[in-house]
Assembly symmetry: C2
């Protein structure tokens, strides 16, 4: 359902968001150390994040990455989609029998519900709670 790639990307974006007040860019090394994400894998992930325009890279010594967007403008769904979340749809036999179509509706409803949850959580929501030290109590 959620891949490690998406999970790591969200962790990284959350790290950037929660430290967006800092002047200096944040290096992959810091993120890797902080969250236990394999370094070389982070490189790949940031290539996608950069291509999507979410982050800006700063090369050279003291370089790293900086958030290019406001945390309140990014949802987890957008990050997940950038990382290839659900680019393949639901299974289908290709036939249009009643049974087939009924099941399709159920799968579709599931996808819709998942996307709804992902899109309802913005980076700023998480970063805010992060700073307050609240680790729980999202859903009422």
């Amino acid at each position: 359902m959620i891949s490690a790639r998406v999970h790591y990307a969200c962790l990284a974006m959350l790290e950037l968001a929660s430290r967006s007040s800092e002047e200096a860019p944040i290096s992959l090394r810091e993120i890797s150390d902080q969250h236990g994400v394999p370094g070389p894998f982070l490189v790949q992930i940031f290539r996608s994040l950069r291509a999507a325009g979410w982050v800006q890279s700063v090369r050279g010594s003291q370089g790293g990455y900086r958030l290019l967007v406001r945390p309140e403008d990014v949802s987890l769904l957008e990050i997940a989609e950038t990382m290839g979340y659900q680019d393949s749809g639901n299974p289908s036999t290709g036939k249009t029998t009643a049974a087939e179509m009924m099941l399709q509706e159920v799968w579709e409803e599931m996808s819709r519900a998942s996307r709804e949850i992902l899109s309802s959580v913005r980076l700023s929501d998480l970063a805010e709670r992060f700073h307050r030290g609240e680790a729980s109590m999202f859903y009422i």
Copy 2:
């Protein structure tokens, strides 16, 4: 999210359920022809369904499969789980940082929502609509 394996299994169970009034068992050939599921793959699927106790096999000529449970006692979630739906949990770095735990909650909420939908649809619900010729309008 939903694998072809689960999709095929649900189609097959739906076929058995909608024809559960018939005396003769239903052969894999019929299901394969009706729904366009690759024959040899159906064999595998029914091995799991049989092991789970959902169906009964009748060997020999004129053999096939028969439903062993009442359609109103089986939800799509149960079928999906029999076919290995989500036996691997959500990704995790293993760390217990605030960021990690917050994301875990979101992934957890997604799983919960999907399972909720799957468990709310019983085989009898679909079979009933199947007989009435209604192919749409599940959710109000």
